[in-house]
């Protein structure tokens, strides 16, 4: 991909997350994308014929669809200069002992095994194109909870997989959904049976190691009636001078009375294009919550969506976007009310500094006949200096009269008087600015489990280092 000069890397990122292992893989396709490569990926995975057909059809769609002209600048992506499939190990490990030493060390540095022991119900760790480690607590397994890599899900639960795969986000949805559908690999497959509540989070961690690669994980989550699950994903990548591409598709089905919470802490290095399609369908009295923290990447275009299909469904998107130098966060949300008596809430907090650009792009749509819907949208932007930019694009498509829709947007600059007040109490300017920013995102952060709230605040501190006023 392009090798333009290295952009500013967020202070501290390089040493903490930006390292990389010597490249090692058991299999790698050559650079570029065509039918042959897609077929090679599918054959290598020993997939059923229907999946190969699905991939090839998606490739055609990808090739036909033009690049989006809205959002961020995608013109620098050279789709023929990417490795689409890099297989790190020959098989998935169920014990960290069986993960190759280099990779294990990487995940140790990122604190994944430690977190697993302390507060997680299950962990998947993806390294380049494949999941190298996967484990779920036995007690959950016994209750019928399925937590596998998506590839393993296709192998072990072919019927369930085929029933739902691609139903929420068809390949034709957008160019990057088509791309993912053609070359997907890794990601998570989750099924939570009726009435089962998974009360501690399941986590997946995505790590890119190889230079010039694309990571295309695919996640499918089915939460059966009255069940509950909280899924958390984190991601980082080495700092390279050329760009990488991350393009995931996440489909979620939340059945009657169920609840799903999906938390993302996106911390890609500043050379990653992060172009992700995430969508959930929520049935009667179901609740879907997206908590979306975007701190890293060069460009993120991501608008987690909820389609409320039956009465009583509720959707929430709480999002934080932080753009520093050389970063563009085009983040947002979509709430689509397809049935009466559904409700949605969107809270977006965007912060830009050092010439970064962060914004909210969102849609609230109410279909004809979806009476008595309620929706509130709050988007607040905080701009830390005059070089930075914030954009708000709130779209509303309301086809029904009997609805309650609220929208509030604020844009503020970090206040000199606020800084002065904190400094008058002995707090230095850098820390004072970080405290103001932490306060600004607190309504979202307080929704996170404690461990992630701490992590989020720590990442924000990291972002704020070296930034004065």
């Amino acid at each position: 991909m392009s090798t333009e000069p290295e952009l500013d890397l967020r202070e501290g990122y390089a040493e903490k997350y930006g390292f990389h292992d010597a490249e090692q893989h058991v299999f790698k396709t050559r650079k570029g994308l065509n039918r042959e490569i897609v077929t090679e990926i599918s054959k290598h995975k020993s997939e059923p014929q229907w999946m190969l057909d699905y991939r090839l059809k998606a490739l055609e769609i990808f090739e036909k669809k033009p690049l989006p002209t809205w959002g961020g600048d995608l013109s620098q992506i050279d789709f023929q200069d990417i490795y689409y499939y890099v297989k790190p190990t020959s098989e998935e490990a169920k014990s960290w002992e069986d993960v190759p030493a280099d990779m294990k060390r990487t995940f140790d540095k990122l604190g994944i095994p430690e977190a697993e022991q302390k507060f997680l119900a299950g962990v998947g760790a993806q390294y380049d194109s494949e999941v190298v480690y996967h484990k779920i607590k036995e007690s959950l397994e016994k209750q019928g909870v399925v937590f596998l890599s998506c590839d393993q899900g296709l192998k072990d639960h072919p019927e369930l997989f085929k029933q739902y795969f691609g139903t929420v986000i068809p390949s034709s949805d957008n160019k990057f959904a088509a791309l993912n559908s053609a070359v997907w690999s890794g990601g998570s497959f989750i099924y939570v049976p009726k009435g089962v509540k998974v009360d501690v989070p399941l986590q997946a961690y995505f790590r890119i190691n190889t230079k010039d690669m694309g990571q295309f994980e695919r996640t499918l989550i089915i939460v059966d009636e009255d069940a509950y699950v909280h899924y958390v994903e984190g991601c980082t990548a080495p700092v390279y001078t050329s760009d990488s591409l991350h393009s995931a598709v996440v489909e979620i089905i939340v059945k009657k009375g169920a609840r799903c919470r999906y938390t993302t802490i996106q911390n890609w290095s500043n050379n990653v294009y992060n172009l992700v399609t995430k969508r959930a369908v929520a049935y009667a009295n179901a609740t879907m919550e997206w908590i979306d923290g975007n701190l890293g990447s060069k460009l993120t275009m991501k608008y987690p969506s909820i389609y409320m299909m039956e009465p009583g469904a509720h959707g929430e998107v709480l999002s934080i976007a932080f753009a520093g130098r050389g970063q563009h966060q085009d983040a947002g949300a979509k709430a689509v009310h397809c049935a009466p008596d559904t409700s949605s809430k969107i809270i977006s907090k965007s912060i830009s500094k050092d010439g970064g650009r962060a914004g909210y792009r969102g849609l609230v749509k109410v279909m004809k006949g979806a009476e008595h819907c309620r929706s509130t949208v709050n988007c607040d932007a905080l701009i830390l200096d005059e070089h930075s930019r914030s954009d708000t694009y709130p779209y509303m498509e309301i086809e029904e009269d009997k609805v309650t829709i609220g929208h509030e947007a604020t844009v503020s600059k970090i206040g000199d008087e606020q800084l002065f007040y904190l400094m008058a109490r002995g707090i230095n300017q850098e820390e004072a600015a970080a405290m103001i920013v932490s306060g600004f995102i607190e309504p979202v952060v307080k929704e996170l489990p404690m461990e992630y709230a701490v992590e989020m605040n720590r990442l924000i501190q990291l972002q704020m280092e070296g930034s004065v006023g």
């Binding site: 206040g415 000199d416 008087e417 606020q418 002065f420 007040y421 904190l422 400094m423 008058a424 109490r425 002995g426 707090i427 230095n428 300017q429 820390e431 004072a432 405290m435 103001i436 932490s438 306060g439 600004f440 995102i441 607190e442 309504p443």
Partner: protein, 263 residues
């Protein structure tokens, strides 16, 4: 002349307009000074200049704190040296709890100075949480504040009285050497004023010098000044004992203006 806070011939401009025109004042620990003056005389400019607000430009004169000029020091360094200002209009910082803010401030104040003498860089460790909670609880009891106060967002939705009490609470915890109280009495009813004044009185002593800036005599019924200064048009025109405040109360500021004019 030495003094804990020594202001010498201070001239200050805001956006090119001169507000302070040669103000001199000395406040020592153990003393309570009242600086009185009508609206627009430059009282708040003076308070903010002492604290180093970037909007105020010192064009002449000097401010010495503990024998050292602080004109080149940032606001946070001044605070860590032991200078404090109770704000007339404390700003709200939504999302930042009062408790965590105050703990960070105390840690900054307690942290040892850095070798370059620029004061401290706050450390993440500092005072243990339990010790801090106990300290906070005792000082809040003194100011008759509810314990839930610590979990509220800083000055966010505080009533006028709560804001002023919160300022005094910060002063009680941070234990400055010189405290400037910028119109702390404004907007307070008599009960709140008493609580605030009691709080200040409990803190005064050999280790603290106080400069009470006020328009009215009212607060001086509760906080007894050792010296009273009258400020008009950017300088101190007359100084005296506590009786001067009573004269002002009885006769207003015009009397001072006339006296200054006839000199």
């Amino acid at each position: 002349m030495t003094g804990d806070l020594l202001v010498k011939g201070l001239h200050v401009s805001v956006e090119g307009k001169e507000i302070l025109k040669g103000l001199s004042l000395q406040v020592n620990k153990g003393e309570v000074h009242a600086l009185m003056g009508p609206n627009g005389s430059g009282k708040s400019t003076f308070a903010n200049t002492l604290m180093g607000h970037p909007k105020y430009e010192v064009t002449a004169g000097d401010i010495l704190f503990k024998g050292e000029s602080i004109l080149e020091k940032e606001t946070d360094e001044r605070a860590r040296m032991g200078l404090f200002m109770a704000f007339q209009y404390p700003v709200a910082i939504p999302g930042l709890t009062f408790g965590s803010f105050l703990r960070a401030a105390l840690n900054a104040r307690l942290a040892p100075p850095t070798p370059d003498g620029n004061g401290a860089v706050p450390t993440k460790k500092g005072i243990p949480p339990k010790e801090f909670r106990d300290l906070l609880r005792s000082k809040m009891a003194m100011l008759k504040m509810d314990e839930t106060f610590a979990t509220r967002y800083l000055n966010d939705g505080f009533s006028g009285g709560e804001k002023k009490r919160a300022e005094i609470l910060q002063m009680a915890i941070l234990r400055p050497e010189i405290a400037i109280m910028d119109e702390t009495d404004s907007g307070l009813d008599i009960d709140a004023l008493k609580v605030v004044a009691d709080g200040v009185n409990a803190l005064t002593g050999q280790d603290l010098g106080v400069l009470v800036i006020t328009h009215y005599n009212r607060i001086l019924n509760y906080i007894k000044p050792t010296r009273v200064h009258v400020m008009i048009d950017g300088r101190i025109v007359t100084s005296g004992g506590a009786e001067l405040a009573q004269q002002l109360e009885a006769k207003g500021y015009d009397w001072v203006r006339e006296e200054v004019a006839s000199r």
